[in-house]
């Protein structure tokens, strides 16, 4: 017979679940509201979501304070792991979501916002990501990942046009394959260590001194493929441009930020101990992967004719840039990752929101995608402010100081230098230069060309106060990032350092 297990409630640390639970409850509340009275305006759901996200954020910040006092907290039979990474990633996830959700309040009507379920799924997805980052149990990570992904596929498809279905199906199918990779990789790790918890795996591997090196590598290969898919590492990136193009610009922007930070955290948890374990193979492979991801996506971005697709490739490149942090694996680089991503989220969300604002419902004859470069031609003449703001985001993405992303880039390159990866630092720098070309291309179109007939009315068609607010926030965040960098860096370094990374 089994012994009854005595578990004290206190040792469970149920509070570790609070943020995710808030999100889930929020989703359920939305579903319930719909149950009682259907057909309510989307603004209600937006605000409800926003409220719950605020609560969520509050809870996380509370954790943050707790973390600074007590350090890492484990909960729920050590499934939950609330360390600095988890907290910061959750903050980015939630803040990113909070910036995203008001984008539903467009002046045009789009299909997805007719569904209360859209907002519910959105909150579920956030919960999924939060679980994913707040655990080092592979099972937990896997389920969190799948929860979030399944919700995300649906959100994409709900845009309801053939391109978005195509995007969703592609994403889904590849996601399923990646899920298979993840499962297989976990299995191998389990086979050689008898555990599915990353720290246990690390311990076990260290104990037997990586005797099963072949198995380790196989496991790493599969997990790298799975996570590489999530953070769109070349050649697992192929979904990215298509999915971004197919989904609404707002969601595309969201996808470029939130799911990826979750992926990065998992990657950090999974790979950094391996990088530090002295497995040269992983260093080399990661090195190559980082360089290829950065460079190849940059090169492909050069030849895009659609701005959203270009931004998709550019976000791949940024992801590659940030992957370098994991390769370098110092406290500085890991802090750099978070700093970069925090700054990146503002800028990139701003850029995608600018596209979202520009969204027209029906394509003009000869227009094959939503946001061809030509659409932006001569924008400075028709919409000077919008053009300036868009240019601002582009410059920030290109890493022109003193705009947001520059500081992230600088810190990342700095960490590469400090970590002894000088050549990598140079490659990163040169890639920024290549990238500048395609960002510049948009600026060239906006500022140096004459407006194209037919597109003039397209600008700001979709604008509404909330969209403009978001753009404003993003713009302010991008311009004055320099003043935020110091406090951010302080906090991030503290969190990262105290989490043992």
């Amino acid at each position: 017979m089994l012994e009854p297990i005595n578990v004290s409630l206190a040792s469970l640390n149920i509070m570790t679940l609070a943020p995710m639970l808030i999100a889930i409850v929020g989703a359920l509340v939305i579903l319930c509201i719909d149950l009682f009275k259907g057909g309510l305006h989307k603004s209600l759901y937006v605000m409800v979501s926003l409220l719950f996200l605020l609560l969520d954020l509050g809870a996380i910040i509370d954790f943050g304070n707790g973390f600074l006092k007590n350090g890492t907290v484990l909960g729920m039979f050590d499934v939950m792991l609330i360390d600095g990474l988890a907290i910061m990633a959750q903050i980015i996830i939630v803040v990113g979501s909070m910036l995203f959700i008001p984008l539903a309040l467009t002046s045009k009507r789009f299909h997805e916002y007719n569904y209360p379920e859209y907002f519910a799924l959105f909150l579920f997805m956030i919960a999924g990501f939060q679980f994913m980052v707040a655990s080092d149990n592979l099972i937990m990570i896997f389920i969190g990942l799948e929860t979030a992904s399944l919700a995300l596929y649906t959100l994409i498809a709900l845009h309801n046009r053939s391109k978005s279905f195509e995007a969703a199906v592609k994403y889904f199918t590849m996601g399923a394959l990646a899920a298979g990779f993840f499962a297989f990789g976990s299995m191998i790790f389990y086979a050689i260590t008898g555990s599915v918890e990353i720290n246990q795996i690390a311990l076990a591997l260290a104990k037997d001194e990586y005797a099963n090196i072949g198995f380790v590598l196989i496991a790493v290969v599969f997990l790298l493929a799975a996570i590489g898919f999530k953070i769109s590492m070349v050649p697992f990136h192929t979904w990215t441009p298509d999915v971004y193009e197919g989904s609404s610009a707002a969601l595309a922007g969201y996808m470029s930020i939130v799911p990826k930070i979750a992926g990065f955290v998992v990657a950090m948890r999974l790979f950094e101990f391996l990088v530090h374990s002295g497995v040269v193979w992983l260093q080399v492979v990661l090195y190559v992967a980082v360089v290829v991801t950065m460079t190849a996506s940059n090169i492909w971005a050069l030849v895009q004719s659609d701005v959203k697709r270009m931004l998709a490739y550019s976000s791949i490149s940024h992801a590659g840039f940030v992957m370098a942090a994991i390769l370098i694996g110092t406290t500085q680089s890991n802090s750099g990752l978070f700093l970069y991503w925090a700054l990146f989220s503002f800028t990139n969300l701003g850029a995608f929101t600018m596209l979202w604002v520009n969204r027209q419902k029906n394509l003009l004859p000869g227009q094959s995608s939503d946001h061809p470069y030509e659409k932006f031609a001569g924008m400075v003449k028709t919409m000077p402010m919008a053009a300036v703001v868009m240019a601002l985001f582009m410059l920030s993405l290109a890493g022109v100081p003193p705009f947001g992303l520059f500081w992230g880039k600088m810190y990342m390159i700095g960490s590469a230098v400090t970590g002894g990866y000088t050549v990598l630092a140079l490659i990163m720098a040169l890639n920024s230069a290549i990238a500048a070309y395609y960002y510049l291309k948009l600026i060239v179109f906006m500022f140096m060309k004459e407006p194209m007939p037919g597109y003039e009315q397209g600008y700001l068609l979709n604008a509404s106060l909330s969209l403009k607010t978001i753009i404003g926030i993003a713009a302010v965040g991008t311009i004055f990032a320099v003043f935020a960098v110091n406090p951010l860096l302080k906090v991030i370094t503290l969190f990262v350092y105290n989490s043992g990374y």
Partner: protein, 194 residues
């Protein structure tokens, strides 16, 4: 010995079934073969003493999943022979085979197992389902609940996507059309109320 015989038998069967699933051009064959393969897999679970898992495998896969697929097949009208364009079939086989060979090469090696200690050791005296339940509702309580959320998400997703509301796309309609549609729909409901 019995184990070995059973293993090889079912291994062969599973492989054959799954190969059929993958290679046949008849959707129905594929479906049937996969269902069979799933059942054969449950046999492994029973061999390995994971009774609960075996049961779940049969219920969930062969029951629910296969039923769903069968339903899907009917919906999509793909019972007849499929014509699939094959591009570069050799590459596919080479890649698949290579992946298999490479992993097998490694996996064939004996695993050094000196330092593995079971966190949740199997106690032969306890029934599998009971033990599973014990672990599931302690250690894996949160994942379990999250899995529930996931299923909820999947459900909502399925309902929403397959729902009638998806038939007309607001995204593609001009504002005026939407307004018109709304007007007519409210009219309809009003009429219905009458």
């Amino acid at each position: 010995m019995f184990e070995a015989v059973a293993f090889y038998l079912f291994a062969t069967l599973t492989i054959i079934m799954f190969t059929i699933t993958v290679m046949t051009s008849q959707a129905l064959y594929a479906l049937t073969a996969m269902a069979a393969g799933m059942i054969f897999i449950s046999a492994f679970f029973f061999i390995l003493g994971a009774d609960f898992l075996g049961a779940i495998q049969i219920i969930v896969y062969t029951g629910a999943v296969m039923a769903l697929y069968a339903f899907g097949m009917m919906f999509f009208d793909t019972t007849r022979t499929l014509v699939e364009k094959r591009s570069n079939p050799r590459l596919v086989v080479v890649l698949g085979g290579l992946a298999a060979v490479l992993v097998v090469l490694i996996v064939l090696a004996p695993i050094v197992t000196t330092n593995i200690n079971a966190h949740y050791p199997i106690d032969p005296s306890v029934g599998n389902s009971q033990a599973i339940g014990m672990v599931l509702f302690t250690k894996y309580l949160v994942p379990f609940e999250l899995a529930a959320v996931m299923l909820l998400v999947a459900m909502i997703a399925g309902i929403v996507l397959a729902g009638k509301k998806m038939d007309k796309s607001l995204t593609l309609m001009a504002d005026e059309e939407i307004a018109l549609m709304h007007a007519s729909s409210t009219q309809n409901t009003e009429e219905g109320a009458h």
